[in-house]
């Protein structure tokens, strides 16, 4: 799975696309891992732009849980933005909506996570 990346100010925006399911969760995890080390206190916050994610299954949600734990242990910040209505439903049904900070847009997430100037 490709994981397009860009910096908006000092915030890393990652944009997965397609389905994060049994067939693709491992690739998503591998692609995401490289960005998590810098997501620590004083480092680079991460926003996952989910606008292009069509579906996420339990194994994909597990990858997010692991990322959340790692970032939390590093005192970093990670959030998810622009959930499609269907993927938002999956987050609500699985109660992952209570685990992650979510924002309606990437701009709102970047504004919230950007370190003070």
């Amino acid at each position: 799975m490709e994981l397009p990346s860009r910096l908006e100010g000092n915030v890393r925006v990652l944009s997965p696309t397609g389905r994060i399911d049994h067939a693709h969760a491992d690739e998503f995890q591998a692609a995401l891992t490289g960005y998590l080390a810098e997501c620590r206190a004083g480092g680079v916050p991460v926003v996952l732009d989910f606008a292009g994610v069509e579906y996420i299954s339990s194994v994909g949600l597990r990858v997010l849980m692991l990322a959340s734990r790692q970032v939390s242990a590093q005192d970093g910040c990670i959030a998810i933005a622009a959930l499609t209505p269907l993927v938002r439903e999956v987050f609500e049904i699985s109660r992952f909506i209570l685990v992650f900070r979510t924002f309606d847009s990437v701009a709102a997430a970047v504004a919230a996570l950007a370190p003070p100037a």
Binding site: S57, R69, L86, I93, S94
Partner: protein
């Protein structure tokens, strides 16, 4: 084949509380304002129109399911506190003077799954034969210890029925009570076992107290094969997925999300959520059911999977 649920709650029996009954009454009465309820049957029709969480209850007995198959001998899955009302119904159906053989298949030996045995009245009736099938070598010890002083007033040795223990192996087929029976080891403290029962044309899978680790694809496929083409899968859906993979990881239970995914991969026809969280009230279980049905729609990639939430008294005919 028919499944009757006598105990559907996880971990410990619970009861509807007075404040919960009051909340149900308030909801029902408030919704009845301005409705014409004078006609004969109007009140009954109104009550039947209410949600099950308002007009009924999912119940609070711990795990016990009766399976009625072609063999004629009663088949029971676990002996939680639901075994007590089951015993009363069996005596009502069969009469006290009709000795017979009962087959019990145990998922495991934790209290909530064996606590109904001392209250299962057929064990006090001479001539009855109770065969307890288990994959735990210590099954007899667990049942005898439960009734030993000072925990219970009637010692196991005083039971009038003949009680036999049958320690079985996993991953092989047995012919018992007119059924083809197969057990599968599951992830739970002290191990638990799922049961796959087939009567020739219909298959029921009972898989409770079973945690599924999401990073073990070979184990996932093992359960998919165990559930393959089942007409009914009774599944431990005690926690939300978020809880099951975080604060309640390694507690030995699973979620509604994993239930749907495994059943869809297995092309099972019906899923029954089971082993409900004891902290949940009826409204919360109803919400889990609605959520699960919606997740089934979202994730569907084939024929639809029917989804129910078990309640004490539910009957499902396969």
């Amino acid at each position: 084949m028919k499944a009757r649920f006598w105990g559907t709650r996880g971990s410990i029996p619970v009861s509807v509380t007075a404040p919960q009954v009051r909340a149900k009454l308030i909801a029902a009465v408030a919704a009845a304002r301005n409705l014409p309820l004078d006609a004969p049957g109007a009140v009954e029709a109104y009550v039947d129109s209410l949600g099950f969480d308002v007009a009924g209850t999912f119940g609070g007995h711990s795990s016990c399911v009766e399976v009625e198959a072609g063999g004629g001998e009663p088949v029971i899955l676990d002996l939680g506190s639901g075994a007590r009302p089951l015993a009363g119904d069996l005596l009502r159906r069969f009469g006290p003077g009709s000795p017979r053989t009962y087959h019990v298949f145990m998922s495991h030996l934790h209290w909530d799954h064996i606590m109904g045995f001392p209250f299962f009245s057929p064990v006090y009736i001479p001539g009855n034969r109770i065969v307890i099938h288990s994959c735990h070598a210590e099954v007899e010890h667990a049942f005898r210890r439960q009734q030993a002083a000072p925990s219970f007033p009637v010692d196991f040795g005083q039971l009038a029925a003949t009680v036999e223990f049958d320690v079985m192996e996993t991953d092989r087929d047995y012919a018992i009570a007119g059924l083809r029976v197969r057990a599968k080891k599951q992830l739970h403290a002290g191990d638990s076992y799922g049961w796959r029962l087939t009567d020739g044309s219909r298959t029921l899978v009972y898989s409770t107290d079973s945690e599924h680790k999401l990073d073990r694809p070979e184990e996932r496929m093992g359960f998919v094969e165990f559930f393959r083409d089942a007409d009914l899968v009774i599944f431990d859906a005690m926690y939300s997925l978020a809880d099951a993979v975080s604060v309640k990881a390694d507690w030995g239970h699973s979620s509604n999300i994993v239930a749907v995914e495994l059943c869809q991969l297995a092309k099972a026809r019906r899923l029954c959520l089971y082993h409900h969280e004891p902290a949940y009230d009826d409204a919360q279980i109803a919400r889990v059911l609605a959520d699960t049905r919606r997740y089934e729609e979202i994730s569907r990639d084939g024929p639809p999977l029917a989804v129910d939430a078990a309640w004490d008294g539910l009957e499902i005919t396969l």
